[in-house]
């Protein structure tokens, strides 16, 4: 449902992505992991048509995101939980999304319940939200149109342990119902318990990919992650 074909991106003279190829199948959760600055966000922005690849192509549901009719009703995205107007209430942010997608207003209440934001919290302005609340709101926004594909950039960032557990359950339910989920993280722990597949990226290159149990190969996944990223970590440069 999501496919990256040899995607490369040069931004201001720097090769941010280098020949990235991988796919996400329906009914699966793919964890996109790598250290900060590895190119995860850039890849997800290219996938959602917000940024352009220098070469190669990224498609979702068989075509470029920007060419889908009303893409957000089929592909839910959370690209940056903090990127909202601070003076707007959480409820208003969801209402704008629901209006754009032509959904009934009742969907806003459903989504608020789903992500565990109370009616009272939803009436507070976004500027006063904790990072965890922003993430919940952003996940709710992504789920507004009941998408078949979910693209989440660092969704666990700022969530408390309870929130992370809640999110795992949510993503598991979604993939069980046939959704394809792609989520990025710089923390392996957040991903390995929920993902079926892992794509590891460092300095713009895919370092390893495969099923979670295969990648481990007896050793812990973390060891693999650390070894693969050690040579590309900024501290090692």
């Amino acid at each position: 449902m999501i496919e990256f074909h040899h995607v490369s991106k040069v931004y201001r003279g720097v090769k941010v992505l280098d020949d990235v190829s991988f796919a996400v199948e329906p009914g699966s959760v793919t964890g996109f992991i790598g250290p900060n600055g590895a190119g995860k966000s850039t890849a997800l922005r290219i996938l959602t048509g917000l940024s352009r690849a220098t070469s190669g192509s990224a498609t979702v549901l068989g075509g470029p995101y920007a060419e889908l009719d009303c893409p957000a009703s089929q592909v839910g995205t959370l690209l940056d939980a903090g990127a909202q107007h601070p003076g707007r209430t959480g409820r208003e942010i969801l209402t704008l999304g629901a209006m754009t997608l032509g959904l009934p207003r009742s969907r806003v209440g459903e989504v608020l319940d789903l992500v565990g934001l109370t009616a009272r919290e939803s009436r507070r302005t976004f500027g006063g939200y904790s990072l965890g609340m922003k993430q919940r709101l952003g996940i709710g926004h992504a789920l507004l149109g009941r998408p078949r594909v979910l693209i989440l950039d660092e969704p666990a960032n700022g969530l408390d342990p309870q929130g992370i557990r809640w999110m795992r359950g949510l993503l598991r339910d979604l993939s069980d119902s046939g959704c394809a989920v792609l989520l990025s993280s710089h923390l392996l722990h957040e991903v390995e318990q929920v993902a079926d597949h892992i794509v590891m990226i460092g300095r713009g290159r895919v370092l390893a990919q495969g099923a979670v149990d295969e990648l481990g190969q007896g050793r812990s996944l973390e060891q693999t992650f650390l070894e693969l990223t050690a040579s590309t970590d900024r501290s090692a440069a």
């Binding site: 352009r52 060419e67 009719d69 995205t77 107007h85 208003e92 032509g102 809640w166 949510l170």
Partner: protein, 291 residues
């Protein structure tokens, strides 16, 4: 737990009964209760998702103008300033309807272009472009939906000023015991309204080009001063101002008596301040990397 659990029942079990090593799906209750509200729609619904109609984008962008604190303050200020300037002018220069309507233009000339600038730059200063363009990747349509509400607001603001000026004229006439002057020049009022719309369009165009609210506001609000400097430079300066200063070229429009030459000068200044920056701004926005 001895029996095998299907994914569906795993979620219903409490977390203690699920063996952690067999599954990463131990969940709390909230997530699984809501499969109905999170699951994808049926295939039928997905087959033909309709593109977002323009009227919906327009409704959303109009709502965004007024749903933040700054938007509400802006609207309140516009209303208060209109009332204050119309009443103030009435008290000072007597019950003359036409003059009273025109008095509202002082506030409009500054606030309306700022409203336009903030509308088109706001998505970038708050990084909401990320959400907006993910919902509707056809950025030209979003821009069009963004530009219309401030332009319509300019028309409504003019109508509001006229509506307020009538009772104020009557009251001032009654209080001061002077006969009211009700004569208005419909063409001049139309030109005045049109000028308000053009000034907003200038703000939208400069804002879209620069995508930086403070710089765009300074440019739009300081041009009258800059042009008076240019005009002082001699004949060449005067000719330049005559053709390129939107404030000068709209004078004829506001007087309600335009000649062919006036129309040509207005057109040239509109191309310079509205068409060119807007075209360049649209190209810039469509190509821009959203980060």
């Amino acid at each position: 737990m001895t029996e095998t659990v299907t994914p569906k029942t795993v979620g219903m079990a409490t977390s203690e009964t699920v063996a952690p090593e067999t599954t990463g799906v131990s969940t709390d209750d909230t997530a699984t209760d809501d499969v109905d509200t999170i699951g994808p729609k049926t295939a039928d619904v997905h087959r033909a998702p309709a593109p977002i109609p323009f009227h919906r984008l327009l409704a959303v962008e109009t709502r965004k103008l007024f749903d933040t604190r700054s938007g509400k303050i802006m609207t309140g200020t516009l209303v208060a300033l209109t009332l204050a300037s119309v009443i103030g002018r009435g008290v000072v220069s007597g019950p003359q309807l036409h003059a009273l309507v025109g008095a509202a233009g002082i506030g409009f000339g500054t606030l309306l272009p700022v409203l336009g600038i903030l509308t088109v730059t706001g998505e970038w200063s708050h990084r909401t472009a990320l959400t907006t363009f993910a919902l509707e990747p056809r950025r030209r349509r979003v821009l069009a939906a963004k530009c219309l509400p401030p332009l319509i607001t300019a028309v409504f603001a003019s109508l509001f000023a006229m509506l307020v000026a009538v009772p104020v004229t009557a009251v001032v006439a009654g209080v001061q015991g002077v006969p009211a002057t009700w004569e208005i020049d419909p063409l001049a009022l139309l030109g005045w309204t049109g000028t308000g719309v053009l000034v907003v369009a200038e703000g939208l165009a400069v804002g879209t080009l620069l995508l930086n609210a403070p710089v765009a506001i300074v440019i739009c609000l300081s041009t009258p001063v800059l042009w008076s400097v240019v005009r002082g430079l001699g004949t060449t300066g005067e000719v330049l101002a005559e053709w390129f200063d939107l404030n000068t070229t709209t004078d004829a429009l506001m007087s309600g008596a335009m000649t062919g030459g006036d129309a040509a000068r207005l057109a040239v200044s509109m191309i310079f301040w509205i068409v060119i920056p807007m075209t360049a701004g649209v190209v810039r926005t469509v190509r821009k990397e959203v980060t």
